[in-house]
């Protein structure tokens, strides 16, 4: 009896520490960004002329727009391709090919972002540069992000589709539905919540990604006029400037970290809710 | 190996004395049980007699399994389960602060509906609970293992493969192993929750036979849906019924009485197969 109590006590302590990490992170982000949040008006982050921290201009909007544009562009490419990949595995491919392709996608899901960034830097950027200088651009960022989130979308969509009961398909086939009729009418609606949750998680990943984008997007703070213009994302900005930032500048970087975290948290909360809703 | 070796006294079952005496070992007084505030068992008072087989019968959901779990305090493990009333085992309140639940459960063995061997070897399945209760000497553990496997008639079937996974046994064998595992701790009381219902008819027959041979040595409380089985092996029977969404004890008495001349019309209807 007492040994169980002892163990429960130890476990409680462990769990408390694990839970405290979250609070600690929040506390330190707030603590470090506090000087700016209290001294500077929040509007400065929207109304300042640009992002020139050494000239005390702290407009985060160009980087926020860069972050959102890169993520949305990546989603626009990765969702159709990822869905097609999942449909291929579940419905179109012969078994051995499906397994092979599934393995390929699983392998890609494990490739670190820095390798994607490296490949983008050495292969994609020079290619785009040939076509439309300077090469390091929103487009390169979008392409690299697409490669990164595509496996994620495929795997979640595959899991959701595989969880649709087999009888539904048999019934659909018995009703004489065409293949696309079956997929669009039965499979996709049945797997909808799972797929959506996967896409939202992929979006969160794209928003928070640092290294790959840092390496290929050019990192110029601006509102891009075309996809060939370079951009800087919030995450890349932190990685780029954190090392030497002092005073307000450092605090603003923590603010952008906070902003990024809230964005990503909101997305994963939506995904979590969807999933819960789905299971209920 | 000689079965009578060492301190272990249980002889071959066939030779054991069969004594079922109307002397209460377990006294259940005003037991009520609820899950998250919903009453599952309402005010049950019942005595379990020493050395006898008591069958708990009644339709599904009338609280028989809950009643069983309350006796060895397995209800502690169910979140949101509340128990009120008193249960005395050998005149000691099982909920009394000084009574240790591990000791209680050693004293009261339990066998579940589905065979539940641990994913370990056959030998380890029996050795693990022994070790946990302080019996660690290898020779003693081996002796007990052989003894209880003989008791359940499994020794001849498995003695040459004690180190294979218990999961490789057939369903009937697994259930007998579970009974052997419970017997290894030398319990006074055995609780059995439909021990035959998950088995095929032949395996079920073997296990039923085993249970009836255990009569007299152990006080057995068995939940069963098989009325014929209850009639064949039990000395006493307790009939439960659902009233107002909660299980209640309707009638308790000798088996013969319950099945042949029940005092309550519900019991009569149930044992005749017209209700339930």
């Amino acid at each position: 009896m007492h040994i169980d109590h002892l163990l429960a006590g130890i476990l409680r302590a462990g769990a408390a520490v694990a839970a405290l990490v979250m609070l600690l992170i929040l506390f330190f982000l707030l603590y470090e960004s506090w000087p700016v949040l209290t001294e500077l008006s929040v509007f400065r982050f929207v109304t300042d002329t640009s992002w020139h921290p050494l000239e005390r201009a702290y407009n985060l909007m160009p980087m926020l727009s860069g972050t959102l544009l890169a993520s949305m562009g990546a989603l626009m490419l990765a969702v159709p391709l990822g869905m097609a990949s999942a449909l291929f595995i579940v419905f179109f491919a012969p078994t051995h090919l499906a397994t092979l392709y599934g393995r390929l996608i699983e392998l890609l899901a494990g490739i670190p972002s820095v390798v994607f960034g490296f490949w983008g830097l050495t292969t994609l950027v020079p290619l785009i540069n040939e076509w439309h200088p300077p090469g390091a651009s929103l487009l390169a960022g979008i392409l690299v992000l697409t490669l990164m989130i595509l496996p994620m979308i495929t795997l979640t969509a595959y899991t959701a589709l595989a969880a649709v009961p087999e009888e539904l398909f048999r019934n659909a086939a018995a009703l004489g539905l065409s293949r696309w009729g079956m997929i669009s009418g039965v499979a996709l609606p049945a797997a909808r919540t799972g797929i959506t949750a996967g896409i939202i998680l992929a979006a969160a990943r794209a928003l928070g990604e640092t290294m790959a984008v840092l390496m290929v997007a050019g990192n110029v703070v601006q509102y891009p006029e075309s996809i060939f213009d370079p951009i800087r994302t919030l995450a890349a900005n932190i990685a780029l400037e954190m090392a030497y930032a002092m005073g307000d500048h450092r605090a603003v970087l923590f603010v952008s970290g906070l902003l990024l975290m809230l964005l990503v948290m909101a997305l994963s909360a939506v995904a979590g809710l969807l999933e819960k809703h789905h299971h209920a | 190996m000689n079965a009578n070796q060492g301190a272990f006294t249980l002889g071959p079952l066939e030779a054991g004395p069969a004594c079922c005496v109307p002397q209460p070992v377990v006294q259940v007084k005003n037991l009520s049980l609820q899950y998250d505030g919903k009453m599952a068992l309402d005010n049950v008072t019942l005595d379990i007699y020493k050395g006898c087989i008591t069958a708990l019968i009644g339709p599904s959901g009338c609280g028989k399994t809950s009643f069983l779990s309350a006796i060895n305090r397995l209800t502690d493990l169910i979140p949101g389960c509340g128990v009120s009333g008193q249960i005395l085992v050998n005149n000691r309140d099982i909920h009394h602060a000084s009574s240790q639940v591990q000791v209680l459960r050693r004293q009261i063995g339990m066998v579940f509906q589905k065979p539940t061997p641990f994913p370990l070897s056959i030998r380890r399945n029996i050795a693990l609970p022994l070790n946990e209760h302080g019996i660690t000497q290898k020779a003693e553990v081996a002796a007990v293992t052989e003894q209880v496997l003989r008791d359940v008639g499994l020794w001849d079937e498995v003695h040459d493969r004690l180190d294979v996974s218990a999961l490789s046994l057939s369903g009937g064998q697994q259930q007998r192993l579970c009974i052997a595992r419970a017997l290894a701790l030398k319990p006074e009381i055995l609780l059995m929750d439909e021990p035959c219902s998950a088995l095929d008819p032949i395996a079920s027959g073997v296990v039923e036979d085993l249970i009836s041979r255990l009569q007299g040595r152990y006080t057995i409380v068995i939940v069963t849906h098989n009325l014929a089985q209850a009639r064949r092996i039990a000395n006493y029977a307790a009939f439960f019924w659902v009233r107002e969404h909660a299980g209640q004890l309707v009638e308790f008495g000798r088996c013969q009485h319950i099945f042949e001349s029940p005092s309550h019309e519900l019991t009569a209807a149930y044992v005749n197969g017209s209700r339930g």
């Binding site: 330190f28 392998l107 293949r179 | 979140p79 999961l167």
Partner: protein
């Protein structure tokens, strides 16, 4: 009925179109990935050698190998695991075995881990820099990098362990309790062994994550590329080495390719191992 035939023809065309799109997409995705992997192998294989694995980098990584990088990577990983695994598994055991799913404690812990799982890695880097490097005074060291990674690994290790422990049949717990076995003993002798494949798979996933991480280490473990003498020294992780070589070292592409190849093969092995464990787990579930 000509309309009906027309309708069916349309359907067929549509089906073909969809099929065409799916095949095209798959072909494109496979082609790009094969292109990428081929690039890595082509670029890195020639540079790989025994010396590359056993020598320390010289001349900013252009010459020499990655031995010190590998040592730093392993050390950072170990610090992360030694810290995160006990915490994560303790939390998982508490959540599955000791508190009900709906209890306030369980809900709080689960919620905070859920939130933690959504935090971008660069934010972990910010936190690690502010807390471990500056507030605790660990500076740029393997210790602060490893501890930052540990925070990052907590949610993934906890959730995999929790799922693994929950998959252990309830009957084991009940029958162990019915035999008067303490929870602690049941945990050690029954539940942990039964959940071992899931725990191992989760551990491998965590290791994979940690090996791939760059952003969280940028401002915590630093990027000194020398052989670390102690945990208080700065150490450059393999992923960070690739980043530095490709961004900051003219002529660093070849060793960067080779390092990337090493990292990807390492992660590949870990993934295959994790997948094998997961599959064997599934197969066993079907068998029993």
């Amino acid at each position: 009925m000509p309309e009906m035939i027309w309708h069916h023809t349309l359907q067929k065309i549509r089906d073909c179109g969809v099929q065409g799109f799916v095949y095209l997409a798959v072909l494109l995705v496979s082609a790009v990935f094969v292109w990428m992997l081929a690039d890595l192998v082509r670029g890195g294989f020639a540079h790989l050698s025994w010396e590359f694995m056993t020598e320390s980098p010289r001349d900013a990584g252009r010459a020499g190998g990655i031995a010190s990088i590998l040592v730093s990577t392993v050390l950072i990983l170990l610090v992360a695991l030694v810290t995160a695994v006990p915490l994560a598994w303790a939390t998982a055991v508490l959540l599955t075995e000791f508190v009900p799913v709906t209890s306030p404690l369980g809900k709080t812990v689960r919620f905070s881990l859920f939130v933690l799982a959504g935090v971008p890695s660069i934010v972990f880097g910010l936190f690690g820099n502010a807390f471990f490097s500056i507030y605790l005074g660990l500076g740029f060291s393997i210790l602060s990098g490893g501890l930052t990674l540990a925070c990052m690994l907590l949610p993934i290790l906890t959730s995999t362990a929790e799922a693994g422990l929950r998959a252990v049949p309830e009957t084991y717990r009940l029958s162990a309790a019915a035999l008067g076995i303490t929870r602690t003993a049941a945990l050690i002798h029954l539940i942990f062994p039964a959940a071992a494949p899931a725990l191992a798979a989760g551990l491998l996933i965590g290791i994979g994550r940690a090996l791939a991480e760059t952003a969280a280490l940028l401002f915590t473990s630093g990027y000194v590329d020398r052989m670390p003498g102690s945990l208080f020294d700065s150490g450059r992780a393999l992923a960070l080495h690739i980043f530095d070589l490709s961004m900051n070292v003219p002529g660093g592409d070849m060793p960067a390719y080779a390092s990337a190849l090493v990292l990807v093969s390492l992660l590949l092995c870990i993934n295959i191992l994790a997948m094998k464990l997961a599959y064997s787990l599934q197969r066993r579930k079907i068998l029993t």
